[in-house]
Symmetry: D2
Subunit: 404 residues, 4 copies
């Protein structure tokens, strides 16, 4: 089976693990390797991956800046649904995988490769996300997941393999974090090590993107976000591209200690795992989007979205971004956003994001004349409430009579 | 129609409005009035209502402390579902109404009254909650809602009526708040006045139960909450009754600036309204309950609860606590909580509630041996993931082939 | 209040009831009446309504054939969702109302009318459907529902009113059915009279559109329906317009005793009511659409539709066709139908509709090579099933270990 | 790995396949085999399996009549939810598997066996149902699925193996059906062979439990079924045990050509497959249960059940009977059935099951006084409908004004 692979596109970070995979693929499958390295906002230069790949003899090297596509076509559509997994997780890792899967198969198509490969392990969600995406977009593709195949199942073996195959020493990052981390424009995550004890409180120096609420400024900062069709388009009246806007929110949020999360989540492969996340911009955006919807979205439209959101979140978490059911839900969600236009005013202070104002010129459904505690000049006839209650109560009354 | 009412049980606060209603009922319906005043944790003495009712000539006066029943049979069952309305509101007002409705009809039964009455207006949700509850529990009851019937639709008319009918002056509270407020053991709410402009930021001196995050202590406080069968039973190892526990959390949370909320919500009667809420204890409890579930509740059980929660929340918000569908959902929710036992450790700091630890001796589903990034000694076979992904991808691949 | 209405558009059938309403509106409101009579396939000529309206002095008379629009824009979209209310009812009455509401407000706009009126009673669902539709499409419209206002609440009073106001005698239909009936291209319904006893079996001579299964031909008839994008477009290879196709199915189905239904349903206004329905074409279409979906629609897409269908059905039943939430659900449903193309073969015999074949050239997802009990030549690796089961079982095993 | 199994409990039918498995297990694993054969109403004697097992040298032989437990604890609870998979399939095969899984692990416990085994293939749903059940009930159990392991993947190889290992010739059933079949008290199913072409109409002589509608009696038969707490307890006033009642309905239904179904369904393992089913008793029961609910179940309770049913059906279809989420849904469903008491009258005629009457003395919610088209003597105030509509329309009107 191994010898029927001619060319593989590898999701390549330039780090030790994927460099070992690169060599292992060549050795095991006798195939050519195409590397693909993307900037999705992880905060590290991607250009160095070129030199590393070249040093390892790779001929076809793809290095791409996908930040705008990531924010515009993945993060923003997801935020239209106010998406959180299991009540809390903003899906920072999950939402980046479908884009990587898409580019892997596109590059496979361009380069005539017959397989794709990734560095995700056999215990996690990411393997599922990469592979479901690849299969959904290119059903005949071959997927190679080295961590499920090889026996390099310890750091020692990996290092030995690297040494043996001349993988440059500088790839072993200097001060290696004790945590398994993942980062992109939406978040950075931490797993493993001491976090494997869910009673253990994460150490302060683990967090990288945010200051602690304690260390955040003593004065609050106010911020206004403008939305158009459910997507954020400007901060404090400055129009910004999707990636720039998200990046700006990350900076501001991080400075105010916003967006830390520590939770135990349920993986699709069946076990619970502890994860810590920093999502400063996303945490602000989630509150802001709900707030602009609160004045521009119809009640039942909002409730329908809320009821479907957990399922939509699970689909993304589990890797079904490219499935027909996710697309159907997206059609429903997007159909609700045409009037989600306006501005939200937020106060950021030591870990807190507080909505303090929301307005929408053309699209508000907030009608002060009707809602007022003062005289409403006939905008609402209080007597209507009696019939409303009476008919809603009718089935309850008939039911209650039965008991007697 | 008016003259067929003999006796009415009135939800009586002792304040001006319900004192006027008391007189108006006697005058309009020529009926006897029974007053019912309950301590549900609103933070005001209820005993003074006795003297006021007596002064107004009432013969049957009910004054009751319902705090434990409220916390145990209403608040806690609701929190088992991690209930929030429209993503944010903890339903503090909504959850108190069914209990009041229940006691009103029970007292009507005890006193031979043929009607109940309340002081809620015709624009709000509370009239619906009171009346749906009353009808569901006593289908033949008559409900009188003076605000929908009379023409005392301004404060001036109300005061004039009070004066004319000798309603004691001291009932006009000294420094009247400019806001319409409601309080109970779970929360205090503010509506009306300047809040009717959703762009207006609530003034600092409006808030009564919490200090501002800015004014909260500079040092965090840690707290441990123990849960049994999904309900909190102890704080820092001290067993507490439901009402005592909630009260304690209110104090601690309030001191740390926790639980303020400012939102625009959708009323059941059809309009949007702006409300500000303080729910210090509830905000802590919500996070803590999710955290203990995160290690003790099965994934699909948790997801099923999450998907049904918005509907359950709407039922409570809309006044359907006593409906068959709410009871059915409660049966489902309660069936999930038998193993929700353990302790959650929380950090409170300037408005933030952070979960920093969770443990459960007998009931944890967190299996570090399986989840570990280290060698798991065969607890999990990574090769299983391939078949898992392949079969989950099968329908996607067949679907993708179709397009070609 | 009455005197502020200048012109009313009345949904006018030409029958006694709406003729009385016509006069009553003129008399009560001193307004001009515009009549609107539509052919939506009820099986009665609409042109006679013109003469009747003229005889009653109406100046603006609208008579329209809406059959194609009804089938294409209302019935077919609804059938894309395999819609049934409460497991059985095909919503024949419900789906016609939004179209009538739409034309009423459009005509109000064209004629400068400030109100619309209809002949539905205050106990039924139709008043709600007409009025919610009207309000959703023209929020400032005034709706007049005479049955809720007047005191002509018996047949005798109605006849007396007619006599007194010179409403021509021929409007009292000759052999009046003892049932309250409603008909359109999708169905005919019967309510009232002896049907008000749910234990009473409907009499054979009540049914008008179908023969009884006993009286149907002794030989089955086979039929092929072609679907494109989820809508039926041809019968036995003959392309047909939406209305023609539905009409044809009604004829064939009716001849074979197909589509009778006798049920007790829950009205939106709170009570249960007994209804009998004949929906011959719709009953065939429902089975056929499910069958074409069974080979062309992805599993999870189909399940998502199935889970949302009851809510979609309730929205239509309750009169929310023009609501944002119905439109959102429609977007989701429609997004699933692009590949629902192919042919279904059906056998009709004495009340039975049996699917006996389904095929789709380009869009089938049925892959005999994978599904076969014979050797599949490697199309499916049975060993994948082990990993699939193992990982799906993981959470269950961890949960089961807890109990010990 | 093979040699660590000491004793296996095998679901043994006495047929050729499971006899080969028996020998193969002994040979491959060097283990002892315990056979378990259950009568779940498949219509074949189970006692002969004893002699066959003895002839093959088995020492521990379990032969059990599980028909009452099957009907009472599995079929009836499922019917409380009006359960159908993908709109049509009554889950006849699916619902039997959890019971078999339960007994397998119980017998493993009793006999000290460390593994269980079954004869389901690696392509179907049954392997999943057996194994998820076994793992959920006994997390440490070993499951052996020979069809996924061995290379006896053709009838020839199987027969050769049987011959070689002295498996008695009489086990090769005389006139072998060309279809893969499964039967129990609820249904009989057919798959494979010519059915693998979904355009092919099933042959008349395939069907075994029902006559064709054409061959059914020319006169209808009437039947009354009494329900208590949602379960059927008597037919035509004759009290019957669960299994007897279901068996009786099978006879009567089969004689009238009721319960044939031909469909393409979606398997959990990812492919579509064609199946034909006969479920005569179940088809009657489904209609009858909906009918008794139609007069005894609250509207919103019924709608909630309807919305959750597809998910409940999928859980059973996919093998999750013993999961926490199925139990939670069952708690919700069962909580709705206390008042589902009464009698349904049905007409059976040539494939048709028609509800012609329903009554319930104490528990009906059908109130003819309110529903009547005649004068209701004030039971319902038609004027209430105006307020009901006005407030339900309010959000729609506010929304519609926005567009202008």
């Amino acid at each position: 089976m191994a010898n029927d692979v001619n060319k593989v596109v590898l999701a390549y970070s330039g780090g030790l693990d994927t460099s070992v995979i690169l060599k292992w693929l060549e050795e095991t499958y006798g195939c050519e390797v195409v590397t693909f390295t993307a900037d999705i906002g992880q905060g590290e230069e991607v250009e160095p991956a070129r030199a590393k790949a070249q040093a390892l003899g790779v001929k076809e090297i793809y290095i791409e800046d996908l930040r705008e596509e990531f924010a515009r076509d993945f993060v923003f559509p997801m935020f239209r649904a106010n998406t959180v997994y299991e009540g809390e997780y903003l899906l920072g890792t999950s939402i980046a995988r479908p884009l990587i899967a898409k580019r892997l198969v596109e590059i496979a198509h361009e380069t005539g490769a017959d397989a794709v490969s990734h560095g995700a392990t056999g215990k996690g969600n990411d393997q599922v996300r990469f592979e479901l995406g690849a299969y959904a977009l290119k059903p005949g593709i071959r997927v190679i997941a080295p961590w499920r195949e090889w026996d390099l199942n310890s750091r020692e073996k990996l290092l030995a393999y690297a040494e043996k195959h001349g993988i440059p020493v500088e790839m072993k990052r200097g001060t290696r974090s004790p945590y398994s981390m993942d980062a992109n424009l939406l978040h950075i995550s931490y797993e493993g090590n001491q976090l494997e004890d869910p009673w253990f409180e994460a150490e302060e120096d683990m967090w990288r993107w945010t200051v602690s609420p304690e260390a955040a400024p003593d004065r609050p900062q106010y911020l206004e976000i403008r939305f158009e069709n459910g997507d954020p388009v400007a901060i404090d009246d400055e129009p910004l591209s999707p990636a720039s806007l998200l990046s700006r929110l990350n900076q501001v949020g991080g400075a105010h200690g916003i967006g830390r999360l520590d939770l135990v989540e349920n993986r699709y492969v069946g076990m619970k795992s502890r994860g810590c996340y920093e999502t400063p911009g996303g945490s602000i955006l989630l509150r802001a989007h709900r707030a602009i919807e609160s004045i521009t979205l119809d009640r039942e439209a909002a409730h329908l979205k809320d009821e479907l959101m957990p399922r939509y979140a699970s689909l993304i978490y589990n890797g079904y971004w490219w499935s027909p059911e996710r697309r159907m839900l997206q059609a429903l969600i997007d159909a609700s956003q045409a009037h989600v236009n306006g501005v939200v005013r937020l106060k950021l202070y030591k870990g807190n994001v507080t909505v303090v104002g929301r307005k929408s010129e053309a699209d508000t459904l907030f009608d002060a004349h009707i809602a007022t505690f003062e005289d409403d000049a006939g905008a609402y006839d209080q007597k209507d409430a009696e019939g409303f209650i009476k008919l809603n109560a009718l089935r309850l009354r008939i039911g209650a009579r039965r008991g007697r």
